[in-house]
C-alpha cells in the first residue's frame, strides 16, 4: 500500500526518500526531538540499572548504622542523595538495584514474548489457512484473560517466584500482541510486488520470510516489543503492590520498593512515619520509564508509518 502512495507522490518526494527502509526511518526519527529524548532517557536508565553492581557494590540491604541517618531526607552529606529509610538503607542504592532487577524482568520477558510472537505470528501470516485460524483463535483466547487477574493468580500458584518462572508467565501471556501485529503486517506485505516476485522466482518460504517479510515488518515488531517493556513493568508493580511476587529483601524491584513504601509510607497507611522520599524515588523512576516507553512507541510508530506522521 505504501508503494502505491509513493508512486502517486510528486517526483521531488521520490528524490527526497533516498536510502533504505532503516535510513528513511532514522531520518524521520531525527525530526522528532521528543522521541529521541525519550530514547536517550530510557537507554540511560537501562545502562545505569545494568551497571548497578559496579555503581553500588554494597548492594541493597546495607545499612547506615548511625542513628542520625535513619529516615533522613535527601542530602548531599554522607552521600545519601535520595535520603534513607527508617533503618538507614540508602534509597538511591535501593532504587538503583530495583531498576536493575525490574529491567532484567522486563527485558527477558519482552525478548522471549517477542520471539514467541514472531514464530507464531510469522507462521500464521506466512501459511494462512487452518494454521492461521488456530493461532489467531488462541490469541483471542489469551487476550480474553485480563493481565492483572491472571498474573496475580499465576504469581500466587508459582510461589516462590523466580526470574525464570516470571519470564515464563510474561512470555506465555504477552506473545499475543507481537503475534497479532506481525501477522497483520505480513498479510499486508504478502500482496506487495517484491514478495510476489520473490515467490515467482521460486524462493523458499524461509527465504521469503527472513529476507523479505521480516525486515519489512521489523518496525512493527519493535513497536510491539517496546510496548511490552512498559506493560511488564506496570504488571509487576501492580502485582507486587498487592503482595504477590518477591519481597525487596531478596530481590528489590521498582514495584516492590514502591509497594512496600506506599503500603506503609503514604496517606492513611503511613504507620512507620516514612518520609515522602522513600516512595517518591522509585515512583518517579517507574513513571519515567513508562512515559519514555509510551513516547518511543508513538514516535517509532509515526516514523515507520509516514502517512500517519501528521499527528506528531
Amino acid at each position: 500500500m505504501s508503494a502505491a502512495v509513493e508512486t502517486e507522490s510528486p517526483p521531488y518526494e521520490t528524490i527526497r526518500q533516498r536510502g533504505g527502509y532503516w535510513a528513511q526511518t532514522g531520518r524521520r526519527l531525527a525530526r522528532q526531538p521528543l522521541t529521541l529524548a525519550a530514547i536517550v532517557v530510557l537507554a540511560g536508565l537501562l545502562v545505569t540499572g545494568g551497571l548497578a553492581a559496579q555503581i553500588a557494590p554494597e548492594r541493597w540491604n546495607s545499612l547506615d548504622l548511625a542513628a542520625r541517618w535513619h529516615n533522613h531526607p535527601p542530602t548531599l552529606a554522607a552521600r545519601h542523595f535520595f535520603g534513607t529509610d527508617n533503618i538507614g538503607r540508602d534509597i538511591l542504592v535501593r532504587v538503583l538495584w530495583g531498576l536493575h532487577f525490574t529491567e532484567q524482568a522486563a527485558l527477558l520477558g519482552a525478548l522471549f514474548a517477542a520471539l514467541l510472537g514472531i514464530v507464531a505470528g510469522g507462521l500464521a501470516g506466512l501459511y494462512g489457512g487452518w494454521l492461521d485460524a488456530v493461532v489467531m483463535r488462541f490469541v483471542d483466547l489469551v487476550t480474553a484473560f485480563p493481565a492483572i487477574v491472571l498474573m496475580i493468580a499465576a504469581f500466587f500458584f508459582l510461589a516462590p517466584l523466580t526470574v525464570a518462572k516470571a519470564t515464563l508467565v510474561f512470555t506465555l501471556y504477552l506473545w499475543t500482541q507481537v503475534a497479532r501485529a506481525l501477522r497483520a503486517r505480513i498479510v499486508t506485505l504478502g500482496g506487495e510486488e517484491y514478495v510476489q516476485a520473490a515467490r515467482a522466482l521460486g524462493a523458499s518460504d524461509a527465504r521469503i520470510f527472513f529476507r523479505h517479510l521480516l525486515p519489512n515488518a521489523a518496525g512493527t515488531v519493535v513497536v510491539a516489543a517496546t510496548a511490552l517493556l512498559g506493560q511488564i513493568v506496570l504488571i509487576e508493580a501492580t502485582a507486587e503492590f498487592f503482595g504477590f511476587g518477591v519481597a525487596s529483601l531478596n530481590r528489590p524491584t521498582l514495584g516492590n520498593l514502591l509497594a512496600e513504601a506506599t503500603t506503609t509510607g503514604i496517606g492513611r497507611y503511613n504507620t512507620l512515619g516514612l518520609g515522602w522520599w522513600v516512595w517518591v524515588s522509585p515512583a518517579c523512576v517507574l513513571v519515567l520509564i513508562l512515559i519514555a516507553v509510551n513516547l518511543i512507541g508513538d514516535g517509532l510508530d509515526n516514523a515507520l508509518n509516514p502517512r500517519a506522521r501528521r499527528s506528531g
Partner: protein, 334 residues
C-alpha cells in the same frame, strides 16, 4: 448480516471462549488446590458448572459429608461486589467519554500551541502513573486539602453503609457509620463515594483515549472535506465538532470501548485502595497471605469468568459502536 445475527454469532463465540477458558483455568489453577486436588477432575468441573446455576459453592464440596451443613450460596459474595464494581466502572466510563472528548477536541483545536502541549504532557503522565499509585496520591491530596475523611462531601474510602477499616483515617476516632439510605438518598450516597475512585480510574484512560482522539482529529482536519467545510465559511468550532469529530467518532468510540476491558485490571487496584469492597477486594482476599488455608476455588473460577466476560462484552460493544457511528461499516455488513 443483520444486527441480531451479528450479535448472536459473537455471543456464541464468546460462550465458546468462556468454555475453553474456564476449563483451562480449572486445569491450571483450581485443580492445584485443596480440596479439588484430591477429587476426580471431570466431576469436580461439572459440579462447579452446576454450581453456577444452583448457587452451590465450594463449601458444598468440603461439607458434603457433614450432617445439617448448609453451604452459603456461591453468589452471596459475588453479587454485591459485582454491583459496586459495576458502579465504579460505569462512573469511569462516563468520565472517560466526556473528558477524552474535551481533551481531544481542545488539543486538536489549538494544535501545536500551549494548550495542546500542556494537555499532551498531561495525557502522557496520566497514562504512565500506575492506578494504585494514582489512588494513593488522590487520597493524599484529598486529606491534605481537606480533612482525613475526604474532600468535602467526597469520602476518600469506603462505600455507603460500610466504613473503611480503622487504619490511620479513623484511628482513635471511630465514628459510627452513617446509614446507606434508601432510594434517591442511597443513589446520592453512592455518587458521593464513587467520585474520587471513579476519577482515579478514569484519569489514566482519559490520558490514553484523549491522545488517540487528538491524533484522529488532527488527521481528519487535514482531509479535503474539512477544506470544503472551511471554504463554505463555517465557524472553526462547527468545522471541528460537526465535521472532524463526526468523522473520528467511529474510530474513537470503537477503540475506546474495545479496550475498556483493560479497565478491569485497574479497577481492581482502585477498588482495593479505596476500600470499596468490590470484585477487586473479593479477588485479592481469595488468596491467603500465608499458611495453607484452602482457596475458595469455585469463587476463583467465577472471578476468572467475570473478568473474561467483562473483556468480551466490551470488545463486542466496541464493534457495535463502530457499526453505529460508521455508516460505511453499517452498509458493508447489512
Amino acid at each position: 448480516m443483520s444486527l441480531t445475527a451479528f450479535v448472536l454469532r459473537r455471543v456464541a463465540l464468546a460462550a465458546a471462549v468462556l468454555a475453553v477458558f474456564s476449563s483451562l483455568t480449572f486445569l491450571f489453577f483450581a485443580a492445584k488446590t485443596q480440596p479439588l486436588a484430591s477429587h476426580p477432575l471431570l466431576p469436580a468441573y461439572w459440579d462447579w458448572v452446576r454450581g453456577l446455576f444452583t448457587g452451590s459453592s465450594y463449601h458444598s464440596l468440603i461439607g458434603s459429608g457433614i450432617d445439617g451443613f448448609v453451604p452459603p450460596s456461591l453468589w452471596a459474595r459475588v453479587v454485591p461486589a459485582l454491583g459496586r464494581t459495576a458502579a465504579l466502572v460505569g462512573a469511569a466510563l462516563v468520565l472517560v467519554v466526556v473528558f477524552s472528548l474535551l481533551v481531544g477536541l481542545a488539543a486538536a483545536r489549538w494544535r501545536g500551541a500551549a494548550p495542546d502541549l500542556i494537555l499532551r504532557t498531561g495525557t502522557y503522565v496520566a497514562w504512565a502513573v500506575p492506578p494504585f499509585l494514582l489512588g494513593l496520591l488522590v487520597q493524599q491530596v484529598a486529606t491534605t486539602l481537606s480533612d482525613s475523611h475526604g474532600l468535602g462531601p467526597f469520602p476518600i474510602a469506603g462505600w455507603p453503609g460500610s466504613c473503611p477499616a480503622a487504619i490511620g483515617i479513623n484511628s482513635g476516632t471511630i465514628t459510627p457509620c452513617p446509614g446507606a439510605g434508601h432510594g434517591a438518598t442511597f443513589a446520592l450516597n453512592v455518587l458521593r463515594y464513587i467520585t474520587l475512585p471513579g476519577l482515579t480510574l478514569a484519569l489514566g484512560f482519559i490520558g490514553l483515549h484523549g491522545r488517540y482522539l487528538r491524533s484522529a482529529l488532527v488527521e481528519a482536519l487535514d482531509a479535503p472535506f474539512i477544506t470544503t467545510a472551511r471554504a463554505k465559511g463555517l465557524s472553526e468550532r462547527r468545522v471541528l465538532v460537526r465535521h472532524a469529530l463526526r468523522a473520528s467518532l467511529a474510530t474513537f468510540m470503537g477503540v475506546m470501548l474495545s479496550d475498556f476491558g483493560a479497565v478491569f485490571g485497574a479497577a481492581l487496584a482502585v477498588d482495593w485502595v479505596f476500600q470499596l469492597q468490590g470484585l477487586g477486594t473479593v479477588f485479592i482476599r481469595l488468596f491467603p497471605t500465608e499458611g495453607f488455608a484452602p482457596i475458595d476455588t469455585y469463587l476463583l473460577q467465577i472471578m476468572f469468568m467475570l473478568t473474561a466476560c467483562f473483556v468480551l462484552a466490551f470488545s463486542l460493544l466496541g464493534e457495535l459502536a463502530t457499526r453505529w457511528f460508521d455508516p460505511r461499516v453499517r452498509a458493508e455488513q447489512t
